[in-house]
Chain length 336, copies 2
């Protein structure tokens, strides 16, 4: 197959908040699949907060993207040519081939989409964010009926699911988000018991104390920083905190400082645990099955913010870092 | 019984590091036991870091000591008069009657000493510090053979036991302490694999990285602050941190600030948990039995720093806050 493959590569390592010029749209010929390989054409790509970490020249739990390399990330696509026994042209697959319109794969790391669900949902509810919410909340927080659960980043891909899972588990759920529209969505549409816009309250801790008069039993943290500090002032004895993300800190140029919080853990006999979705890899199928079941039963609602065209992937990502999306942010690359 | 009861009361709430003048030695008549009560004469009293918190006018997990009230704390004593069916004169008991030479009790909260062990050991190895080490380390860190365990405050009442329990569990143990003499004791006498004086190393994090080349699997934290920050830079994936105390922070006059550490928990899929020994109350007998068995088998060594006379309890406590003790700090009040 001849033609042009457009890719977004890392052009510069950002200092602080990334800029459009840290990315570069490049063109190359569409690659040819060898024996055992297949060619996939991207339908959707995912932009997620963790990608900010991959832009730094520092080994974290995963290797950084190198300068000139295609940006990493979850993708869906349709197989358009195949020398691979497992996949045939026309198959819709999910993978990790990053920000590009075409890719060759030997099939490793690919899985087929669930036909009953929209393809793009495999980057959200039925993908990494869904599994993150499911395992990170249930396994670490172990929520009990009647407990108070607070979620930060509550209108994002993961947070909006955590709140709904907490409602399924019969908890009282309070969401923290950054716009009034988000607050309205999670309370009116998703069934959160309460929510507030942290940017417009005078005192986050005080607002939390009003909304959680018996203290916070479970906290699912997507953001870190002052919001999380305020949660720490309102913990109930025996609280469990699941640390999923710290998006408020990802663009820091110096070591972020904050109030020391370990004594509060003693006082409240509380636990904080960080996790990566990969650590539950052997149970992913269980999570996907349960999430799909809740979706079909109408117990979970799902929303996407869709931007069109690979050339807009960088701005979609920058918008995500600024909290512009409601629900899962995806970039639509091609409609078969 | 007539005579004088000397007591140490809280005279002033300290700002920052406490002073001798925050305490007052007062005299009162020896109290008389009523029906069902007994009179006990104190043999030893315990001074412990948690008492600093009780001197503040802030409800933490326990109520503060009121101005003019006898200082709180663990005690041992001999029953010298009794109208109580459970205890008779001559019995040695352990309780919580605080910094005074005599006290009346209705028997609640008292227990008998284990005759095979020295009386004073019931304030350390066979008391609150021993149970703190036993449950706080084993239940939260869940150490596995071959893992690397770091203990701060490693020559104190709790830390010295945690390190020895970790050795019994076949871990590699590194202790952090504040004098060369302490370092020598825990390595030469207690069998820690390595230890260092944090006051004389150039870079705590670097020293830890040399001594823990495979990273730190378990950390038992007695101190908090910069020592704990350095541990966070050296965690192994899946690390478990038990937060027992934060003695470096107890005299702070402003909210202590430090590097934000939650992202590291994500990166390392690590857990921090704070605890109070009381939460394991229903298993205390199990802990005491095991600790006594280890002591008799020579698997655990035990050291006390003994100061004489109730008038010296304040200075013993102030010395403890400055790290002057090796092993358990007790005050000897009376030798029957």
């Amino acid at each position: 197959m001849t033609g042009t493959n457009r890719q977004v590569t890392l052009a510069a390592r950002p200092t602080g908040f990334p800029k459009e010029s840290d990315f570069k749209l490049v063109e190359s010929p569409i690659p040819e699949p060898n024996d055992g390989e297949l060619l996939v054409r991207t339908t959707f790509l995912s932009v997620d907060p963790y990608m900010r970490g991959r832009m730094n020249d520092r080994k974290s739990y995963a290797a950084p993207v190198q300068l000139g390399e295609v940006m990493t990330g979850g993708t869906t696509g349709r197989v358009i040519a195949s020398n691979n026994d497992k996949y045939k042209p026309g198959d819709d697959v999910v993978g990790q081939w990053g920000w590009q319109e075409y890719a060759v794969s030997d099939g490793r790391g690919l899985r087929s989409v669930i036909p009953q669900a929209p393809v793009s949902a495999h980057l959200g509810l039925l993908g990494m964010p869904g599994l993150t919410a499911y395992f990170g909340f249930l396994e670490i927080c172990k929520p009990q009926p009647g407990e108070t659960v607070v979620v930060s980043g509550a209108a994002g891909a993961v947070g909006s699911l955590v709140g709904q899972i907490a409602k399924i588990k019969e908890c009282r759920v309070v969401g923290i988000a950054g716009t009034d529209e988000k607050v309205q969505w999670i309370t009116d549409e998703l069934g959160f018991d309460a929510a507030f816009n942290y940017k417009t309250v005078d005192n986050i801790s005080q607002r939390l104390s009003q909304l959680c008069p018996r203290g916070i039993d479970c906290y699912f943290d997507n953001v870190g920083g002052p919001i999380t500090d305020a949660v720490f002032s309102n913990l109930h004895t025996g609280a469990r905190i699941s640390v999923c993300g710290q998006i408020s800190q990802y663009n820091a140029t110096e070591t972020p400082m904050g109030p020391r919080l370990l004594f509060r853990l003693i006082e409240k006999q509380a636990k904080i645990e960080g996790f990566l979705v990969f650590q539950y890899a052997d149970r992913h199928q269980e999570g996907l099955t349960q999430l799909a079941e809740w979706l079909q039963a109408g117990k979970i609602k799902y929303r996407e913010n869709i931007v069109d065209g690979i050339e807009n992937a960088p701005s979609a990502f920058l918008g995500l870092l600024q909290g512009e999306n409601i629900g899962k942010q995806v970039v639509k690359i091609w409609e078969p």
